[in-house]
């Protein structure tokens, strides 16, 4: 039945290189893990998939009331709900992706201990689940842009939105792989991740524009956060280009580092997951 009969060798130390051919052979497993997680997630809920839309809308509503109306936080000339939603759209992918990726190895430990497949599929497919949410909320976001009649520079959107999404995916993937490997080794990260995300929400330019912080040094540090660059890039087609190139560069470099390091660390430890999971 299996046509790809191939001779292979099992050795003590696995090589650090990525076997893309093997990943391709297992491509259906990405689909099945993602499909399973989506299926299970809203089982026995009355509203089901509506939750995907309801959650960000309610958050936008609350944030707009408190930060936009009551505290009058500036919003780079955009209506505040649009402004905060543009940030939350990306943030929700990052936050839910990171949360589920970091727990994914432990949640699937029964499978890891019994069957071999490229382990990276597990955290990666938990990001795919978040991508589905992202696509749905993205549609809601577009509808919101139309409702508020926001001026959108289409040609800029074609350039910057894919870039922003790329940064977002890379940042989440890198950190997600790293944290999923870490939480197999140290269970503490189950508690660290939600806490860290809470703090990161407030130091990312989501509810306020990056320009409210005028100390360049603080900005340089904040830009290490992978979501920093992503959110700023994403807003450029709506607000006009007021982003600092330096800060975007820092954010991109740090994101590249997180991807490389996260996947490296995952590969380095994955062979022993079955022994300690």
């Amino acid at each position: 039945m299996q046509t790809e009969t191939k001779e292979y060798t099992i050795l003590p130390q696995r090589s650090m290189t990525f076997d893309f051919q093997e990943l391709y052979q297992y491509r259906e497993l990405f689909y099945f893990f993602t499909w399973r997680d989506i299926k299970i997630r809203y089982k026995q809920t009355a509203l089901g998939i509506v939750w995907v839309i309801l959650q960000p809308i309610l958050t936008v509503l609350v944030f707009s009331l408190f930060f936009g109306k009551a505290l009058k936080v500036p919003s780079s000339g955009l209506p505040y709900p649009v402004f905060v939603f543009s940030g939350l759209l990306l943030w929700n992918f990052f936050s839910s992706g990171l949360n589920s990726a970091s727990n994914s190895m432990l949640n699937n430990s029964a499978i890891i201990k019994k069957i071999y497949f490229p382990r990276i599929i597990i955290p990666a497919s938990s990001l795919l689940v978040s991508s589905v949410d992202f696509l749905i909320t993205f549609v809601v976001f577009i509808l919101m842009l139309i409702y508020y009649q926001v001026h959108l520079d289409i040609s800029q959107a074609i350039v910057f939105w894919p870039l922003a999404i790329l940064l977002m995916v890379f940042g989440t993937l890198g950190l997600g792989c790293w944290l999923s490997a870490l939480s197999v080794k140290y269970r503490d990260f189950r508690y660290v991740v939600p806490f860290g995300l809470q703090i990161l929400l407030f130091i990312s330019p989501i509810i306020y524009p990056a320009s409210v912080i005028d100390s360049p040094w603080i900005n340089y540090i904040l830009a290490i956060n992978p979501m920093y660059g992503s959110i700023i890039l994403f807003r450029i087609p709506m607000t006009g280009n007021d982003a600092s190139f330096d800060l975007l560069l820092i954010s991109s470099i740090s994101t590249s580092f997180f991807v490389a390091f996260g996947i490296y660390y995952f590969r380095k430890t994955e062979a022993f997951f079955a022994d300690i999971a």
Binding site: E4, T9, K185
Partner: protein, 411 residues
């Protein structure tokens, strides 16, 4: 033709760290920096394992609990890497270390077939093609669109085995999956295994069920203490295994010293020793449904007025199976005040099944108060015993809380 599996010098080392939890803890890691490195104890689960498997061969792998069989299978199925050595495989290996891996209770039977098949390495079109066969084999077609959580455990098992049985890899590794299900289904499974091995596929079969091993596999491999003890014709290897088992039984003579139990409230009050007998033969190796006799010696500093002595038999996961004490049986051992003595429990046919290690907790008290509680004070192994002569070991799930008539004597 080259062998389909070449296993060369495979060893696997674990570190035993008695103090830490099995997983690491970040706090411990931080405090460890300031502590002197305590030496970890090395443990070789496998040492220099070497053998070849020919194309189409079915090889049985036997050995007692903890001999290293499962570790070997985990290495072969690439779940864990070896510490040293090399394995060359000239075919796709699929392993069935546990049926139903990846099953999810919220998914329907149909969805689980796809999910499980995919995890086990099948492609979607392969599952599509064999879907009807799988459903047919499992006999669950009526419940295909019902969530798995509403299935009985037997149905779940049948479904799981049905998926696994239709995998069709070049090399199939099977670990103890035949010890489940009802008799009829087990027959079906054995038949399927025979088809697999007759169909020219290579089969590695691990089981404590020696009958099944001999029946299915021409050749067998005996592992003991992480080393290959014997390899050759199944009949000979099994004989070899049984002989070593019996030899060891004489060394472990069923005597347990209980004087130095650290949880003892008062050093002078409590158990002295325990003796375990199987069919009146002092041993650590018990055969299921045999005569079980446990003698408990105790002594005390003050006379006991209302002696309570009891024990709880637990399986290897520490799950209690049978608990017995003289009070529950309505027997007050207060005929005369005692300072020391021996309590003997005898059960004509102890109904425990499986092939696990078992542990016994012991209780000693006076009136309502416990003076000496010894957890895991007695331990014994259950010898695999094909009591129904059906080529299988009865399911440990059959273990009951009802030991039948218990005979208690005190002297």
């Amino acid at each position: 033709m080259k062998p389909i599996l070449e296993i060369t010098n495979i060893s696997k080392r674990f570190y035993l760290d008695h103090q830490n939890a099995p997983y690491l803890n970040f706090r411990d890691r931080l405090t460890d920096i300031f502590k002197k490195k305590n030496k970890k104890e090395e443990f070789w689960a496998l040492k220099d394992i070497q053998f070849d498997v020919e194309q189409g061969e079915s090889l049985g792998i036997i050995g007692r609990n903890g001999a290293g069989k499962s570790t070997l299978l985990k290495i072969l199925s690439r779940i864990t890497p070896p510490t040293t050595g090399k394995i060359v495989s000239r075919g796709r290996i699929a392993s069935l270390l546990e049926v139903g891996t990846g099953f999810h209770q919220e998914l329907t039977g149909r969805e689980n077939i796809y999910m499980n098949g995919s995890i086990l390495g099948m492609r979607k079109w392969q599952i599509d093609k064999r879907f009807d066969e799988i459903v047919d084999f499992s006999g669950t077609e009526k419940f295909l669109d019902t969530p798995l959580k509403h299935y009985s455990s037997g149905m779940q098992l049948r479904l799981a085995f049905a998926v696994a049985a239709h995998l069709d890899p070049e090399i199939l590794i099977i670990d103890e999956v035949l010890a489940v299900g009802d008799a009829e289904f087990q027959k079906k499974c054995m038949g399927k295994m025979e088809d697999v091995s007759r169909g020219g596929r290579t089969l590695l079969f691990v089981s404590h069920n020696l009958f099944a091993v001999e029946h299915l596999c021409k050749n067998s491999l005996l592992i003991d203490n992480g080393r290959v003890c014997a390899i050759g014709k199944s009949k000979k290897v099994i004989q070899n295994y049984l002989e070593t088992m019996n030899k060891d039984t004489n060394h472990q003579n069923g005597y347990f010293d209980l004087r130095n139990n650290p949880t003892k409230r008062n050093k002078e009050r409590g158990f002295l020793s325990a003796q375990l007998y199987c069919d009146d033969f002092k041993t650590n190796l018990f055969r299921c449904e045999s005569n079980f006799k446990l003698e408990l010696d105790f002594s005390d500093t003050i006379p006991i007025n209302d002696l309570v002595v009891g024990f709880v038999i637990k399986d290897s996961t520490q799950k209690p199976i049978i608990g017995i004490n003289n009070w529950d049986l309505g027997l007050r051992l207060n005929t005369k005040p005692l300072i020391d003595g021996k309590v003997t429990f005898e059960i004509a046919k102890l109904p425990i099944y499986g092939q696990d290690g078992f542990y016994v907790d012991l209780y000693f008290g006076d009136g309502g108060d416990n003076y000496d509680i010894i957890e895991n004070g007695v331990a014994f192994n259950l010898e695999p015993n094909d009591i129904l002569k059906m080529g299988r070991i009865l399911n440990p799930a059959l273990n009951t809380m009802h030991p039948g008539k218990v005979d208690i004597r005190i002297s």
